[in-house]
Symmetry: D2
Subunit: 293 residues, 4 copies
C-alpha cells in the first residue's frame, strides 16, 4: 500500500471525514440516523396486504424499530416474478406510518417515479442494482429526501463512496450507506457480508452506515449473528426483513425473520448495543480515523 | 436454497456437528482452544532475532495471549523475498516457550519438514497457500500435533471443511479452523474478511474457529475493529501479528500492531469477551445449529 | 451439473434457442447484425469535437466498420469527470451518419432521455452499469430501436439473459448482447474477458453477440488479440474504441486504438473472418446448440 | 495504469521476455513445446485400466496428439473420492509410451513422490491446487524434468509467473504455463476461461503457454469452442480430457470428450492451426511484446 487512505479516496472529497465534517446525522421524523441511537429498520421484503404490513409494523415497533421497510416497486429477479403493488403499496405504507408513527423507507427504481415515491416515503432507498444509475441518483438527490444507498453487488468501497459523492454534488447531504453483502466465489451464503467494509467506512467517511443482514446472508438462521457482527463493526443501524409468515412471503421468504425471531434477535443485540452506547464505537484502537481529522 | 445445510455439506460428515459431537476442544499445554476461554495467539510474522521474539513474547503474554506465533519457514510472496530463519527460527521459538510458558504455533510448508517442525511446535500451522496440499495435510495429521488450518485465499467454506475432513480421515481430530479473509474484487483491504463465514462455521461444525484480522485487513489501523467483529461472530480466538517495530519488520509490517496497539486492542475487546463468557456465543437466535443436533 | 442447460436457463424462455427460433437477425440501415456479416462498430469513447468524430468516422468506414460508436451521455467514473456533450454530441453523431452512411450506436443512461437519444441513434446502447436498470430497459425497449445490451460488470450469463428477456417482454426482439469483460480478482487487465461466455451464449441463445475488446482489456496493445479471440469464440461483431490521438482522448485513451492500430487489427482479423464465413461458426463440435433445437 | 508492464512484473525477471530471451522451447522426446508446432496433450483424467489407457492413447495419437495425459496420483475433490492408481498407474503410462511413442505428462502432488514420478513421466504436471506449493515446485524443479505449471484457481497472472520464477531459481528453465480457468462469481461454467490471459502471457513472457479447455469449461460440448479460442489467443498447445466412455469415467466424465468428439475437435481446429502456422501468432498488432525486447 503505497498510497495513503486520503490519496486513495481523493476522488470523493465530500463524503470523507475532514476537520470540518466528522459526522453526518440524518434527522428523520423525531429521531436521528448516524447519531447516538442505533436505528433498526424492519419490515417485509414486499408490501403484500394491509394485514401483512400493519401486523408487521406494530410488531417491529414494539421491539424497538424506528423505520418500517417494505417494497412497493420491486426489482425483479425475473421479468415474470412479482413486481410490487406500486402506488397501492405506497398508500399502505403511508397508512402504516399514520397508525404507528414509524418512518417509511421504500425503494425507488425509476427516475420518473421519484416525485411519487418521495411524496410517501421518509427515506428513499436506492437498491443495489441502481447504485450506479447516476440519473436516478441525481433525481433522488434533488427530491430533498434522505437517501438510503445500498452498495452494488460488486461495487468496491470506492464505488459506493462515489455514488454518495454524486448525491452530494446534487445538493443532498443526507445519505445513509448500506452494506448488504457482495458477490464473490463463495456460495454458502447468498452474498459475502463485508463487515470489515463497515468498519472501514466508519473510519474514513462521515456518513452513517447501516447493515442489511437479510440480503447479506440470504438465510434467516444467520441473520441474528450478522446483526451482532454489524454492531461490533460500528454500524449505525440495521435493515432487516420481517414477515408474519416467512414461508408464505411473496418474495425473499428464506431470509425473513418471523415475529418471534425478530424479538430474539433484538434481545440478543441488547448487550452489544449497551457497549456501543458506552462509547465503544470509537475505541482508541481506531486510529485510521485520526488521519482524516 | 433447495438443499438443507446437512445435504450441502454431506461430503464432510466428520467435521459437522452431530448428536454425538457438538464441540471439539483442543488441549494445548495448560489451556484449551474451543472451550470457554477465548484464546489469543500473537507474535511477529517472521522470527527475526532473539531480541525481537523474546520482547514480543513477554509483551503479548502480559496482555493475555496464550500462544506465540512466528514464522520460521515463510511462504514467499516472491522467490527473492525473505524465506525465514528455518531451524534457527524454530530454536528461538522453543527458547521463547521455555522462558514464557506460551505455546508455539508456526507454519510447516513442506511434508518433509513435518517431523522437524512438530518437534518444536505445539500447534502446526497449515498456511492458506497449503490448504489444498493434501500430501502435507496427511503428513501433518499423522504427526499427532493439533493443526491450525488457514482458509485458502479462494477456498469456499465447503473447501475448508473438506481439508479438515482429510485431517480427520488421517486420524487427527485436533483441527482449529482459521478465517483470514478471501480474495475478491474489492481492493480497499488486502482481503475480504468473511465474518459471516465464522458464524456459519460455528453453527454447522464442531471445530474451533479463530480469526486472523491481520491478514484479513492488511492494515494495522483496522485490526482492532476486525478483532471485535470476530468476537461478535463467535470466534474462539485470534491470530494477530505483533512486532516491536512494525515499520522495521522484515515482512508484513503494515499489518502488524506495535506493543501499544496490541494493548489497546486487548483492552477494547475486554467488554465483548465478557458478553461472550456470559453465554452469548450461542444465543437463542442461532437456530441453524439445532438442525445439526 | 445435475440440471440440463434448458433447466438452468428456464427463466428466460424468450431468448433461448428453440425449434421456432434459432437465430435473431437485427436489420440496421442497409446491413444486418447476427446474420452472415461480421459487423464492426468503432469510434471514440466520447464524442469530443466535430473534427475528432468525422475523422474517426471516415477512417473506420474505410477499414470496413458499419457502425460508428461515440458517447454523448457518459457514465462517469467520477462525478467530477467529463460527462459528455449531451445533445450537442447527438447532433454531431447525426452529421457523421449523414456524411458517411455509418449507423450510429450511442448510450442512453436515463429513461427520460430515451426519446431524445432514439431520435438520433440507430442502436441504443445500454451500458454495463445500467444492465439491471429495468426501468431504463423497459423505456428503451418501447422506443422500438434495436438495443445493444452490455453485460454488467458482475452479471452472470443468466443475469444478462434476464435483462434481454425483460426487453422481449416489453415488445422488442431486437437485442444485441455484448460481452465486455467481468470484474474478478485478476488485476493484470481492466476486466476478465469471458470469451467462453460468448461461445456459450451463441450455443444457447438465438441473439447476436458482439465483443468489446477495448473495455475487456483496458489496454490498446491487447485489443487485436482479444478481437481475434472473439471471432474464434463465434461473436457476430465487435465494439472497438478508436481515436485520432488516443493519448489526448478525454476518456479511456489507454484502451483506444489509433488509426494505424485499427487498420492493423482489421487486417489481422481478415483470415479469421474468412474461416468464419466458411461456416466454421457452427462446427460439428458445437453440440450443445442441438439440445436447444 | 500508471505503471509500465515491465514495472508491474518486475518481481519475475527470469520469465519475462528480454533482449536475450524471446522464446523458450522445451524439447520432449522427438518434438518441441513452444516452437512452431502446436502440441496437443490428451488422455483420460485418471488412469483407470490398461484397456482404457491404451485405447485412448492409440486414438489420440492417430488424431495428432503428441503427449498422453493421465492422472496416477489424483487431487481429490473429496477425501472419499478416487485417489488414483498410484505407481500402478505410472507403470501403465510407461507401457503406453512404449507402445505409442507418445510422451507422458502426469501430476505429482507430493514432494516425496517427485523422484518416482520423474522416473516415469516426460513432463511433470503441477496441479492448480499445488501452484503455490513452493516446496513441491523446488523439488520438481530439481528433478530436471520439464514442468507443466497449471494456474491456481485464483492465481493472478503475476502469481503464476512467480511460481514459474521459483522453478527458474531452482535451476530449471523448462516450464510450460497452463491456463485452465479461474474461479469467479460466474457459475454457468466450471471456471472462467481467461483467454486474454493467454494472449497477455504470450506477449510478456518467453515461456510456452497451453490451455486446458476441459477444466476451463467443465462441459464437453464447449471444449471445441474453447480450444479454438485458445488457438486464436496464441496458445502453444492444448491439454484435453478424452475417455473411451466419458459417462463411465471414474472422474471428470462430464468434461471429457469421447473419441468421436476428439476427432471432430481436431478437425475443426485444423484451419485455425494453418493460420497460426502462417505466422499469425505474432501479428503486427501485438505491440506489447515489443516493449519486452
Amino acid at each position: 500500500m503505497r498510497e495513503s487512505w486520503q490519496e486513495r479516496f481523493a476522488g470523493t472529497p465530500a463524503v470523507l471525514k475532514s476537520e470540518k465534517r466528522r459526522k453526518t446525522v440524518v434527522p428523520v421524523l423525531d429521531f436521528e440516523i448516524g447519531g447516538n441511537e442505533f436505528v433498526t429498520m424492519a419490515g417485509p421484503c414486499s408490501v403484500e396486504t394491509e394485514f401483512q404490513l400493519m401486523a408487521t409494523a406494530l410488531h417491529v415497533r414494539r421491539c424497538g424499530a424506528r423505520v418500517l421497510r417494505g417494497g412497493a416497486f420491486k426489482p425483479r429477479s425475473s421479468p415474470y416474478s412479482f413486481q410490487g403493488l406500486g402506488i397501492e403499496g405506497l398508500k399502505l405504507l403511508a397508512t402504516a406510518r399514520q397508525e404507528t408513527g414509524l418512518a417509511i423507507v421504500t425503494e425507488v427504481m425509476s427516475e420518473c417515479d421519484v416525485p411519487l415515491v418521495a411524496e410517501y416515503a421518509d427515506i428513499l432507498q436506492i437498491g443495489s442494482r441502481s447504485m450506479e444509475n447516476y440519473s436516478l441518483l441525481e433525481a433522488a438527490a434533488r427530491s430533498g429526501r434522505p437517501l438510503l444507498l445500498k452498495r452494488g453487488m460488486v461495487a468496491t468501497i470506492a464505488d459506493l463512496l462515489q455514488a454518495a459523492e454524486v448525491v452530494f454534488e446534487n445538493g443532498n447531504a443526507q445519505v445513509i450507506l448500506c452494506e448488504r453483502g457482495i458477490r464473490t466465489f463463495e456460495t454458502a451464503m447468498r452474498n459475502t457480508f463485508d463487515a470489515a467494509g463497515i468498519a472501514l467506512l466508519k473510519q474514513i467517511s462521515h456518513l452513517p452506515v447501516i447493515a442489511d443482514p437479510s440480503h447479506a446472508s440470504g438465510c434467516r438462521e444467520l441473520v441474528p449473528a450478522l446483526a451482532r457482527i454489524a454492531v461490533a463493526a460500528g454500524a449505525d443501524g440495521l435493515l432487516v426483513e420481517v414477515h408474519p409468515h416467512p414461508d408464505k412471503a411473496w418474495s425473499d421468504g428464506e431470509q425473513s425473520l418471523d415475529f418471534a425471531g425478530f424479538d430474539e434477535m433484538m434481545a440478543s443485540l441488547d448487550p452489544y448495543l449497551k457497549l456501543r452506547a458506552n462509547g465503544l464505537d470509537e475505541p482508541a484502537g481506531d486510529r485510521l480515523a485520526e488521519a482524516f481529522g
